[in-house]
């Protein structure tokens, strides 16, 4: 049954696996106001995006990749002259990889409100000429999807072969099938959920309070003061990081290892344990590049996402609009977006008699697993995309 070419391990043997291709960010300006879920609109905004592969003449091979909290339009490949600048899903997407850019035209887009190139709170409000800061409008998953749809219009993509996303990106993929059912043939939703649980919102709120109560935050207008609320961002990242890992992985990686020597130093404020050192390092790194207002905006978008809300909390009714075929993947040790949450989506799709496959990958890495290279996980994604490729009209050039 297994063909050599579909064996995940065979990707290792393919040329181009170790050396990624060159990616180039692009920018499109949108003058027309985009109406927002929370009221009002945003106009004169820019979306940063990247594309890989070639769009078929009939436009049928486009795949949109939606990003999560700390990611961007730089999904795959490296930037010219910048070694180790691989995109955040470079292990999954590229020539000969599970989402094969030799066959698919892959689009990565940075969402509104982010801090990696698209218009965000660090940019100027077109009305006032002032930096948005705290005045950047609240954006939702639905707003992002609407903005992405406008980008596709400009790129000449009417219908997606697939929309793909993990975590918050999975929410966007799901939302695509509800907002634009006739523009999506397949949705691949990884490590995601139909909404956040109270515990998840609680984690987000702790992170937000850390940022907002940082004296350098200045109500979100810290740019004017030439400061960055780094303390808040660090703590927000530390909390987030804990929830992305599993207890087992953390124990395996750090255990109770002390940072220096074998004996504790009996200090309340110095770093004692390796895990402390690791979290502080992650926090420091993050606070150097991430925007505080973006953190608030994106965690809020997570909190608000709840397609069942308009249907009395009934997800089955909410997903009745979806006509796409689905692949859902979850990871057994992911407690932030647990398998049970993916199963809720699966059940709602089954109730609606939609085509759906669901893989529950027994991986130790917690929520982070969706970004890692696991043969079973990547094997399922690769096989699914090969099926999608089979449905496409024959490519213009011989393979």
């Amino acid at each position: 049954m297994a063909k050599a070419s579909t064996d995940p391990a065979s990707f290792l043997a393919m040329p181009g696996f170790f050396m990624s291709f060159i990616a180039t960010p692009q920018f499109l300006h949108f003058a027309d106001p985009l109406p927002l879920t929370g009221g009002g609109s945003i106009r004169d905004y820019t979306l940063a995006y990247e594309t890989y592969g070639t769009l078929d003449a009939d436009g049928s091979n486009a795949v949109l990749v939606c990003h999560a909290l700390n990611a961007s339009h730089h999904v795959a490949g490296v930037y010219e002259g910048q070694p180790r600048s691989e995109g955040w899903w470079d292990n999954l997407i590229g020539p000969g990889k599970p989402v094969d850019t030799n066959r698919f035209f892959v689009i990565g887009v940075n969402n509104l409100g982010s801090c990696f190139g698209s218009t965000g709170p660090m940019h100027k409000h077109p009305d006032t000429g002032e930096i948005y800061g705290a005045d950047f409008p609240v954006v939702t998953v639905e707003d992002w999807v609407n903005a992405q749809a406008r980008l596709l219009d400009r790129l000449g993509v009417r219908q997606l072969a697939a929309v793909l996303g993990g975590s918050l990106g999975g929410m966007q993929a799901l939302s695509w099938t509800l907002q634009y059912p006739d523009r999506v043939r397949h949705a691949v939703v990884v490590a995601s959920a139909p909404n956040l649980t109270a515990e998840n919102i609680a984690f987000n709120e702790v992170a937000r309070r850390a940022i907002v109560t940082d004296p350098d935050f200045h109500g979100g207008h810290f740019y004017r003061h030439g400061v960055v609320p780094k303390r808040g961002l660090r703590i927000a990242r530390m909390i987030g990081h804990i929830t992305y890992l599993s207890d087992d992985v953390m124990n395996e990686k750090f255990g109770r290892q002390l940072r220096e020597g074998l004996a504790p130093r009996y200090s309340t404020q110095d770093i004692e344990f390796q895990i402390e050192s690791y979290l502080r390092y992650q926090g420091d790194k993050f606070s150097d590049y991430f925007d505080a207002n973006t953190y608030l905006l994106i965690t809020r978008a997570l909190d608000y996402f709840d397609p069942a809300l308009a249907h009395g909390g009934n997800l089955t009714l909410a997903l009745a609009r979806a006509t796409a075929r689905f692949l859902l993947v979850s990871f057994t040790t992911d407690w932030r977006f647990s398998p049970g949450r993916s199963r809720e989506i699966v059940k709602a799709l089954l109730d609606n008699r939609r085509d759906v496959s669901y893989a529950e990958i027994d991986a130790p890495h917690g929520h982070d697993a969706f970004l890692l290279d696991d043969a079973r996980y990547h094997g399922v994604i690769a096989s699914y995309f090969q099926r999608i490729a089979h449905e496409l009209p024959a490519p213009e050039t011989a393979p």
Binding site: M1, R343, K347, L350, V356, S357, A359, S383, R387
Partner: protein, 194 residues
């Protein structure tokens, strides 16, 4: 059980265009066959990673689940036919799964190795557990944790008030309707619930 004749013997019982749930669907071959040849739609349920991958590769809808956790994902009478082909013998709670099969499907088809097949009886008479083509494992490492006979299943089905539409044996790809409890390595039951 994966042989073509057996698969076709089961597939013949599934009406054209039926919505099918295949519990323990393996690599999805039966569902792929039903989709292709009989215009059926539906889903497979599998626990094994390699089988889930094989299903996705074949273009068969598959849901990765441990059947021991029940079928809560599936609504009452959601399917025309629920298949349990060589699955029952691996389940700790075979009776609960039989009831769940009856709940989610208007009808069910169950196939499993018939322990009362004469070579098995002969082996036990000789004082040893059978090791055959159909039951190829030693008693100490068999995945078949429930061994039952054609007649045993009749009793279980009746106890659970299932109406047996058809029951027969399968041996060497052929239906066995005479003395299936002794002459067939595989028991097949097609039933519906009240």
């Amino acid at each position: 059980m994966s042989d073509r004749h057996t698969m076709h013997a089961i597939a013949r019982r599934v009406p054209h265009g039926a919505r099918v749930l295949d519990l323990g669907c393996g690599d999805g071959s039966l569902l792929a066959h039903l989709q292709r040849e009989r215009g059926c739609t539906g889903y497979g349920v599998e626990i094994d990673d390699a089988n889930v991958l094989a299903c996705v590769r074949q273009g068969v809808n598959v849901v990765q689940l441990n059947l021991e956790e029940g079928l809560a994902l599936f609504g009452d009478n959601a399917f025309d036919v629920v298949l349990q082909i060589d699955t029952l013998q691996h389940l700790r709670n075979a009776e609960v799964m039989l009831r769940e099969t009856a709940r989610v499907g208007r009808s069910g088809i169950v196939a499993f190795p018939n322990f009362a097949h004469w070579p098995n009886r002969l082996s036990v008479l000789r004082g040893r557990m059978p090791v055959t083509r159909r039951l190829p494992y030693q008693w100490y490492d068999t995945p078949n944790i429930r061994v039952g006979t054609f007649k045993d299943f009749e009793v279980l089905a009746t106890k659970n008030r299932l109406r047996i539409l058809d029951a027969f044996g399968l041996q060497d790809g052929r239906e066995v309707r005479r003395l299936p409890n002794a002459l067939a390595g595989t028991a097949v039951f097609h039933f519906e619930h009240d």
